[in-house]
Amino acid sequence: MPLIDYANPTRFMSLSGRILPWLVGLTMLTLGFGLYKAFYMAPADYQQGETVRIMFVHVPAAWLAMFAYTIIALSALGTLVWRHPLADVSARAAAPLGAGFTAIALITGSLWGKPMWGTWWVWDARLTSVLILLLMYLGLMALQRAFDDPAKGAKAGAILALVGFINVPIIKFSVDWWNTLHQPASVFRFDGPTIHSSILWPLVVTAIGFSLLFLTLHMMAMRNEVIRRRVRALQIQAARNVSRQPAGQLAAEAGKA
C-alpha cells in the first residue's frame, strides 16, 4: 500500500490507535532516561554551574516551538495545494502544542537569563522573534476558530501559517545575522557541536524524549480533531432531519414535551 494511503482519516484512526500505546511507552522511557541523565549524569557547567540544568528543558522546547510551526506550514501546503482533510487536522492539533512549547522556551529562557545575563528579558533579535512566534501561534489558533465553516477557517489559517513561516528561519539565524545577547547555535553547527559530550548526550536524549512527547500529544490531538469533525457532520445531519419533519409533527412533539 502506498504511504499516501495511510493519510486517509479512517486509516489514520486505525493506525494511530495501534501506534499510540507504543508511542506513549517509548516517550515515557526516553524522557525518563533523559531526565535521569540530565540531573544525575550530566555535570554542572564550568561557567554556568547548576543552571545548565535549565538547558535540558529550554533547548528542546525551543526546537519543538520551531518544529511545530514547520509541521503547521507543511500542513498548510497540504490544505491549500492538495486539500487533504488530514492536513488541517494536523495544523489545528499542532498549534496549541506549539504555543505551549514556545511559552516553555520563553519562560525557561527568562529564568535562565536572570542569573546568567543579569536580566529577565532583552529585546534582542532571538528573544523578540520567539515572542513573535508565540503571538503567531495565538493568532493562528484564534483565526482557525473564527469561522463557522471549518473549511474557510482552514484556508485562512493555512495562508497565515505560510506567511508566518518566514519567522522560523529568522529565529534560527537571528543569532548569526544580528548582534544578540543570546548565544549563537552550539549544537547544530557546520563545524560540529561546541558542547562537551558529557552535557551534549543528556541534551540529545531529553530532546528526543520531548520530541516523542510532542508527537504523542499531536497524534492524540489529531484523533480528537478527526472525531470532532465526525460529530459535526452527524450534528448537521441531525439538524437536517429536524428541519425536514412536518410542522404538525414538530408541534405534536413540542406538545408532548
Binding site: M13, Y40, G49, E50, R53, I104, W112, R223, N224, R230
Partner: protein, 70 residues
C-alpha cells in the same frame, strides 16, 4: 539532583522545570479532556441512530466526517 534545586540558583532551576511541568500538564489535560468530550458527543449521536456510511465495520471512534446516515 536535590543540590541542583537548593544551590545558589536553585530557585531559577526549580521555577523552570515547574513551569515546564505545568504547561505540559495543561496540554496533556486539554488533550485528554477534549478527547473525552468529543467521544461522549459522538456516542450520544450514535445512540440517537446517526451513523456515517463509512463507519460500517469500523469500531475506532471516528474518522473523516464522511456523509452520515440516519
Amino acid at each position: 539532583m536535590i543540590e541542583s534545586f537548593t544551590g545558589e540558583h536553585g530557585g531559577f532551576i526549580l521555577g523552570s522545570w515547574l513551569a515546564a511541568v505545568l504547561i505540559i500538564g495543561a496540554l496533556l489535560a486539554w488533550v485528554l479532556i477534549d478527547g473525552r468530550k468529543v467521544r461522549r458527543d459522538l456516542a450520544a449521536l450514535e445512540a440517537a441512530g446517526f451513523r456515517r456510511r463509512s463507519a460500517d465495520g469500523e469500531n475506532d471512534g471516528g474518522t473523516d466526517g464522511g456523509a452520515p446516515t440516519p
